[in-house]
């Protein structure tokens, strides 16, 4: 469904310097039993965030009030594993609009773009720089600029450009989703299907 438009976002960020964060960590399978898209943020990173009794684990970053913001900066190969879109729903519902990593799993990246979470791929060096800086200075902000395809560490002005295809870029800026596009070309699809 349509989501909030995304053009330029300036926010503090949450560091998660772990590689291979799979979608079972983002939201464990036992929390996928809903029939509606609500409340998934409560179980974001559930087993890293809470112990078996449901008490917050002090050493996990989401339980550390020092860190907050709409941007999550993670280690390499973020979002691997299951295709569950619930993982992105949980990220969105928690309040993140952008995830930064040096490498994303494919299906996860598609799922993000389909619901209005921006996956920003940066170089491993820049990812390390961001992680170090926001860990040391939680007040530091990062600016993600879709029209100019640029991510900037505001405290130093260091920046990198990132890839996003024109179609998705347009969608993100206007809050459109793919179904709007596909429904508009239903005659072409019908003509194609008739020859199958």
């Amino acid at each position: 469904m349509a989501y909030d438009k995304f053009t330029v976002l300036t926010s503090t960020a949450v560091p998660l310097p772990t590689d291979n964060v799979d979608t079972d960590q983002i939201i464990p399978a036992r929390f996928l039993k809903a029939t509606e898209r609500e409340g998934f943020g409560d179980n974001l990173f559930r087993d890293w965030r809470y112990d078996v009794e449901g008490n917050p684990k002090k050493d996990f970053v989401l339980n550390d009030p020092t860190y907050s913001g709409k941007i999550l900066v993670s280690g390499r190969n973020f979002g691997s594993g299951s295709s569950r879109e619930h993982a992105v729903w949980a990220i969105y519902d928690y309040g993140f609009r952008c995830v930064v990593s040096s490498f994303f799993a494919d299906i996860f990246k598609n799922n993000c773009l389909n619901i209005g979470v921006l996956p920003v791929t940066v170089s491993p060096e820049f990812a390390d720089k961001l992680l170090e800086t926001i860990t040391a200075n939680p007040e530091t902000t990062i600016t993600v600029d879709i029209p100019n395809q640029k991510i900037t560490l505001d405290s130093t002005g260091e920046s990198e450009s990132f890839d996003i295809n024109e179609y998705k870029k347009d969608n993100m800026q206007n809050g459109f989703d793919d179904i709007d596009y596909l429904l508009n070309m239903s005659d072409e699809i019908d003509a194609f299907a008739a020859n199958k």
Binding site: T18, L32, R37, G81, R84, F103, F104, N110, L183
Partner: protein
């Protein structure tokens, strides 16, 4: 004429339109749905006030969260029950074929599709499940999608998709005794890493692949996603046609001949170029097992867990975190490690050949005292065959507990959970933290290795246990 790959041929034949500087509008031949990733898609259709464009192209079955006992009774877990009921309602409302709990062809979606002959060469197949890559074994483009895309397929029979890069993995040579297709794919993933094929669609080729049965090919393609690939496929051949002949949804009569003639054209042209190629020799591959928390962390069962030599930064931190979760030390041998549970099942290894091989190997043995052994058929059809062939009796005499079909302990959405801290050797596909239950420690292996571990009670080489 331009030399093209099998992937190109199928992909290009399904592009309705290429969006300039954007993805392709990609036509989907078959769409599988299950109870967990479809309800929100249907809900959104309702919100938009639109219906299902072509219900005959979608097939449904509840598999992910269903109990594996008492399937004839009402599901006890309220949320699971609601998801299954919602699937029933949605299928009834839109006229979608449903293979419900207890029906003759109920089972894991990636087991029943091939079993019914719904999966065919040259098709494009999607499902809200990453192991949809399984269907690639038939020479189809098959991959997992998110719920927004499930909604797109229901609404329009298309998704917006950028074409992946192409990789070919060639395995030639002959694998030794006790080495299965699960070992082949665990070896490949260990070689190229859990992210090594991200951005690619993989074609598996070579004599060691061609000599595999359809079920063994499905195991290979199933785990493509575990190295990050969108999917994996194998060119159809006589083995494929033989498997499909006479299946319920396979073409019949003249249609069959026409289909086979087309299917025979589905192969990569000699000289076609891939973006990346790997070559492996099956003779180098031994029974494999994973020791860490992603499927790329695999070694031969006779090997040692890698040391941290040469690792640094977040790579080393993540590695040590993974071993700490597993309770293992860098450099130690994996053989001899104590095990608590074995699980035979899942869309990776829950087919009849898997159950046959476990039964053949444990016949006349008993499981070790310390082991709880679960065997969960991939479908009702598999369960039926296992009974008819006397396999269930053999397995029960060996101390295995046979359960009813479903995804079960592969992802532990139902009650089939490995307790926290316990070790499970599993024929499934993922060893992520908590995958088989909070705190559960999973080691992935072939059905043969699992059979050997069940008997010995600890990590061991199936060749030492059974082949002597």
């Amino acid at each position: 004429m331009e030399k093209t790959t099998l992937f190109d041929k199928i992909w290009d034949a399904h592009v309705v339109k290429s969006v300039p500087a954007g993805p392709d509008v990609f036509f989907i031949d078959k769409h599988f749905i299950h109870e967990v990733t479809s309800p929100v898609a249907f809900l959104n259709l309702e919100k938009r006030g639109i219906g299902v464009k072509n219900p005959s192209r979608t097939v449904a079955t509840p598999d992910h969260n269903v109990p594996t006992v008492d399937q004839d009774k009402t599901i006890k877990d309220k949320l699971s029950r609601m998801q299954v009921e919602r699937l029933r309602e949605n299928c009834a409302k839109y006229g979608i074929e449903l293979h419900d709990l207890g029906s003759a062809h109920h089972g894991i979606v990636h087991v029943i599709g091939p079993e019914l002959g719904i999966t065919q060469p040259g098709m494009t197949i999607v499902c809200g499940d990453s192991h949809t890559s399984t269907h690639g074994a038939f020479g189809a483009i098959a991959f997992g999608i998110g719920t927004s895309e499930v909604e797109m397929v229901l609404a329009t029979q298309c998704i917006m998709q950028s074409k992946a890069k192409k990789m070919r993995i060639t395995i030639d040579g002959v694998a030794g005794p006790g080495v299965t297709s699960k070992d082949l794919i665990l070896y490949v993933i260990a070689q190229i890493s859990a992210a090594g094929a991200t951005g690619y669609f993989v074609e598996y080729a070579g004599s060691a692949i061609q000599s595999l049965s359809m079920e063994a090919r499905m195991t290979v393609c199933n785990m493509s996603i575990e190295m990050g690939a969108r999917g994996g496929l194998i060119a159809p051949d006589e083995t494929t046609f033989e498997y499909l002949k006479g299946k319920q949804y396979s073409p019949k009569g003249e249609e069959w001949d026409k289909a086979v003639a087309y299917w025979k054209t589905l192969k990569t042209d000699e000289g076609a170029v891939f973006d990346k190629e790997y070559h492996f020799d099956a003779a180098d591959i031994e029974p494999m097992i994973t020791y860490g928390t992603n499927p790329g962390m695999g070694i031969k069962v006779l090997g040692n867990i890698p040391t941290t030599d040469g690792m640094e930064g977040s790579n080393k931190t993540s590695y040590l975190k993974s071993l700490a979760y597993m309770g293992f030390e860098p450099g130690e041998a994996i053989k001899g490690k104590k095990v608590d549970f074995v699980f035979v099942g899942s869309c990776t290894n829950g087919r009849i050949e898997d159950i046959r091989s476990v039964a053949a190997f444990v016949k006349g043995h008993k499981k070790a005292e310390n082991i709880t052994a679960w065997i969960v058929p991939g479908s009702r059809e598999v369960e039926k065959m296992a009974h008819e062939e006397g396999l269930v009796k053999i397995l029960e005499e060996a101390g295995f507990e046979l359960r009813q079909p479903g995804c079960s302990a592969c992802l532990a959405m139902n009650d089939d959970k490995i307790p926290s801290g316990k070790y499970a050797v599993s024929t499934s596909n993922r060893n992520f933290e908590g995958r088989q239950g909070p705190g559960a420690r999973t080691m992935l292996a072939s059905p043969l290795t699992v059979a050997a571990v069940a008997v010995k009670g600890e990590i061991c080489d199936p060749r030492e246990v059974f082949l002597n």
